[in-house]
Amino acid sequence: MLELNNIHTFYGPVEALKGVTLKIDQGEIVCLIGNNGAGKSTTLMTISGILRPGSGSISFTGEDITDVPPHRIVEMGISHVPEGRRIFPRLTVKENLEMGAYTKNTKFKVQNSKFKNQFDKVYELFPVLKERGKQMGGTLSGGEQQMLAISRALMSDPKLLLLDEPSLGLAPLIVTRIFRAIKEINHDGITVLLVEQNAHAALNLSNRGYVLESGKITMHGLGKGLLNDEQVKKAYLGE
């Protein structure tokens, strides 16, 4: 479904990705683990078009998206929940969700049934968002903000969801809640690429995993396989 082929991405003169190649199949949950600064977020930013790769190519459902602008990539079916959640603080919860549906909610489709369904779908996943509808996004708690960020990304009815550190800074109970939701989303047929520092939880949830070290993929395998790998255990699982 998504293929990154030898991607090099630069921040000014610094080469953050040094030839990343990875592949995700339809219906999978794939996780990308690695230390701070390994290039995990950069990989996601490059997929969603915020950063342009210096070389290499990205294809999505058979189409080349290497030079497609970010708003077009959303229309094609990739939704990105960035690190730090980035809720629009002075838009209400409902308006945040409406912005998530921006590509669907064109002038002629405002009242179409799909748009309404999309609201119902995320309210079912996280009922608290319906109660908070009129509240400003910036006033939500961290966990609620993460729920809103994921829901906002789902509003565009994506085929592929990119999640960047969804558990960051959240209480263990909320983390369990978020991971359960990711599983449900995947059950609904949405492919997930998950970036996590919480390698244990991420590998447990995922079908497959990639390990990223200083801009390079150094290992990949089945989620369960990586969990039992001695090197991964030592470097990322603290065992």
Binding site: G84, A153, S156
Partner: protein
């Protein structure tokens, strides 16, 4: 006397507010002080003279004055919006990723260019706005209200209400607010940032065109340099209200108009321009982010 001065103040204040909205909207989205914005206001006034002159020449003005005026307004808005759109595309967009000083200097350049362009093509002397209707109004308890004042106040109020509806209720208006709050996130939800920026310039320029045209009708004279002082005043109004805040620009403009009008009649008219800045200094001293401004938030 007091009510009379309040009416005068609201007239000028409405105009300041319309121009200030253009400054504040662009700042909200690009963090750029668009110094060329005052010039758009000036172009609006000149375009009004040109179009009205044309309609007079073809006899439309004597056939139906309201129709000629309405068409003049529409055409001035369209032309000024086109100017605003083009200025953004040519002078600011190529500098989007440059340091923040570069587009600012570019804006000053556009301002100087437009002033000289109008001076060369329209002449350096004052132009008279066609005198098409008698300066009439009505008297009430010894006070005179001219129709043009009422017209300016009503038009400003209606435009501000429409803008408010647009910003809070429409898809594009909400997208503008989203872009102002977080550009990267806005593109991640599928908003085309370039379109939103263009719409911002088009709307701001349209409002400035209306302001310029109404002022030209009110005072009857225009000059290629009127954009400078009006721009500075409106910018002051925007800062007063909290730059980046739309209600702030509306309130700041009206407050500035009232202060100018009341202080020049009750204190002394000689320092008319100074009062605006005195108020600005006092307010920024008490609340540095402006009346409606949000304290600067660190982005994490």
């Amino acid at each position: 006397m007091f009510v009379q001065q309040v009416i005068n103040g609201l007239t000028v204040g409405g105009v300041y507010a319309l121009i200030a909205l253009g400054y504040t909207m662009v700042y909200g989205i690009l963090e750029l002080i668009n110094f060329a914005h005052g010039e758009i206001y000036m172009l609006g006034a000149y375009l009004g003279i040109i179009f009205l002159g044309f309609f007079t020449a073809i006899g439309l003005t004597s056939y139906s004055l309201p129709l000629a005026l309405a068409l003049t307004f529409v055409l001035s808005i369209v032309f000024c919006s086109a100017y605003g759109f083009t200025i953004e595309k040519t002078a600011y967009k190529p500098l989007r990723n440059a340091s923040r000083l570069s587009p600012l200097i570019s804006a000053i350049g556009v301002s100087i260019f437009l002033q000289n362009y109008v001076m060369l093509t329209q002449g350096a002397t004052d132009k008279v706005f066609p005198h098409l209707f008698e300066e009439t109004g009505f008297e009430m308890q010894g006070m005179t209200f001219t129709y043009i004042q009422i017209f300016i106040i009503v038009v400003s109020a209606v435009l501000m209400m429409l803008l408010n509806l647009f910003i809070t209720k429409t898809r594009m208006g909400k997208a503008m607010r989203a872009v102002a709050q977080d550009k990267t996130m806005a593109s991640l939800v599928g908003i085309n940032i370039d379109t939103v920026i263009s719409v911002t310039f088009v709307i701001g320029s349209g409002l400035a065109a209306v302001a310029g045209l109404m002022v030209a009708m009110y005072y009857g004279l225009v000059n290629y340099s009127i954009g400078y002082i009006a721009g500075i005043k409106a910018f002051t109004a925007a800062v007063l209200g909290g730059i980046g805040s739309i209600p702030g620009a509306m309130f700041g403009g009206i407050l500035l108009g009232l202060v100018e009008s009341l202080s020049s009649s009750y204190i002394s008219p000689e320092y008319k321009d100074a009062y605006a800045f005195i108020i600005l200094i006092i307010i920024l001293f008490i609340k540095p982010s402006g009346l409606f401004g949000k304290a600067h938030e660190e982005k994490v």
